[in-house]
Amino acid sequence: MRPVAISEISIVNCLGAGQEATIAAIRERRSGLAPCNFETAVLDTCIGQVSGLDEFHVRSDLNAYDCRNNRLAQLGLQTDGFGGAVSAVAEKYGAQRIGVFMGTSTSGILQTEIAYRHRNASNGALPADYHYAQTQNSFSIADFVQRYLGLKGPAFVISSACSSSAKVFAHAARMMSAGVCDAAVVGGVDTLCLTTLYGFNSLQLLSPTPCRPYDVNRDGISIGEGAGFALLERAAEKPAAGTMMLLGIGESCDAYHMSTPHPEGLGARLSMQGALDTAQLAPNDVDYINLHGTATKANDASEDQAVFAIFGGKTPVSSTKGSTGHLLGAAGITEAIIAMLAIRDEVLPGSMNTKNIDPALQCNYLLDNQNSRVRRILTNSFGFGGSNCSLLLGTAE
């Protein structure tokens, strides 16, 4: 893999809009999770909701794309100066030479859920103002982002459940390596909807309290929503010291079960080892691991075994899902950006809500923030269908 530089990032979730809001919440140990009051959902659970989306509208020339997911995407593109930075890069390379690779799990499905409540009483038709291609279809998020930014290069959506927006980095890196594009906007956007709330409820995986990763009493996830974006470019032959780099990528499948991880974390091990191998690094080169850490009994137990098998019990690890909730298709890039902020601001996030670490788990799990200078971070994302992706991020020397 040719080295990839990460030039710009942008992040929005229940902790706030922007890099500074996110890192401030981590420093001040604030969680964004609160009891569920979303739409018409009646469920005993907590969610990580982005405020203000109900009043927000997408740019008027893209009106047909107006839905919660694309609103959050636009908010992300307006945050941290991201859209402006992309415009500058488009001047440099040309709009046709910049790819758009977006991850999402449920796209604008909320529009379809609402439309099904307003079907024509006599013929069952969906309302006339329902725009399938621009909202429901998974591609809509890449289509919207590409149009919003005025880009003209290759564009598609990766939808592999909760690994989606980690995998976008792999696709973009390969596209640049093959010369199909010179730079890429990668991102992940997933928003609250009834399908995921009632779906995870049916699997009995929703915690009634803010989720508690690694806790002996952990009892499920808290669903959140968020957007994250990164601008990727080919790295220079000798990148300037401090340049944020995508060092390694690992991808694998569990080949085990649709909604339960492999009990010994076999797929997770392959994915983490793949990231180390592409980066040509050893386990002790990694300073911190941002876990997938969903706070389900099964995920944390299986991931712990996999991490311990490769890294042993010294490397500090934690999950930030107690802060943000599980952002599903946006989790991968959100946690990759948190990792980049942790390197930049020299703070490793301690887990929120976790009180008593499960004695059966063996990794060095951080309950409190740790101020330390770190160079390389691994971040894990695992999804339904047994889809795994690990990213290794770090700064150039």
Binding site: R119, F139, S159, A255
Partner: protein, 266 residues
């Protein structure tokens, strides 16, 4: 330009019962007779999973297995790229009906089948493959997105890849807003170097649209091509069946296209 080799094809669709059986009509040597798509759940799936899968998963596994058999290649050691314009439309419809009712409890199976990568998940379970796998969507350009991504992966990772594209018609009321004509699945096994099984070389370029999309001569096959995103593959399959050098154009999003120079080999 990216050069890759094709060593296996799988196909299932209306009037198209496998690549081997469909080659004469795709080559123009036999006439097309419409019959509904016939697809069953793969015996490779454990019995519990076999009962749970929808049409899109059956399409994907059937096409993928035929292509790998043709290539004499083990799925467990082959990376995969899945692409679909929508995933399981019947399942989405059932979930949205349930959520619009007063009793909102959707079944766990419906929920895990709702992910766009359901076919990839069941594929890995059926074939025991832990190799990298991805699941893409490009709306009408889903096949082109998958072919581009699979070719890039073959070139960059220098490993064989099976590309599997599939689509299913939505039930009403979604069919009216997103008409898809038929259930269709196609798979291509691609390698970075020629092997004893290679029968064609593809030179693929991603470029600004300069030519109109290649169409099918037969009107029924053309209706299938334009009516199902995964069937945008038909002109490429037709050239492969004819065993003639030719160039195929397939539209991509944002005014781009794939230029695919097909040359028989070996």
């Amino acid at each position: 330009m990216m050069q890759i080799f094709v060593e296996g094809v799988g196909l299932v669709g209306p009037g198209l019962c496998g690549w081997q059986a469909s080659q004469p009509l795709l080559a123009g040597a036999a006439s097309y007779v419409h019959t509904p798509t016939v697809v069953t759940a793969s015996d490779l799936l454990p019995s519990a999973e076999r009962r749970r899968v929808g049409i899109p998963v059956k399409l994907a596994i059937a096409a993928g297995c035929e292509a790998l058999l043709h290539a004499a290649r083990d799925a467990a050691t082959t990376a995969s790229v899945f692409t679909s314009s929508q995933g399981d439309g019947e399942n989405l419809h059932q979930i949205c009906e349930t959520l619009a009712s007063t009793e909102r409890n959707i079944s766990p199976t419906r929920f895990h089948n709702s992910v766009h990568n359901a076919a990839a998940g069941y594929w890995s379970i059926a074939t025991r493959s832990r190799k990298p796998s991805t699941s893409l969507c490009g709306h009408d350009s889903s096949f082109a997105a998958g072919l581009l991504d699979a070719a890039v992966q073959v070139i960059v990772d220098t490993d064989p890849v099976v590309l599997i594209a599939y689509d299913q018609a939505y039930p009403e009321p979604l069919h009216t807003v997103r008409p898809i004509n038929a259930s269709f699945g196609v798979a291509l096994v691609m390698t970075p170097q020629a092997t004893s099984k290679s029968f064609a070389v593809l030179e693929i370029s991603f470029e600004l649209r300069q030519e109109s999309e290649t169409r099918m001569q037969d009107s029924s096959l053309e209706a299938l091509r334009s009516g199902v995103p995964a069937a945008r593959s038909l002109p490429l399959l037709s050239k492969l069946a004819r065993k003639e050098a030719a160039t195929v154009f397939i539209d991509c999003a944002a005014g781009n296209q794939l230029r695919i120079a097909v040359t028989p080999c070996c």
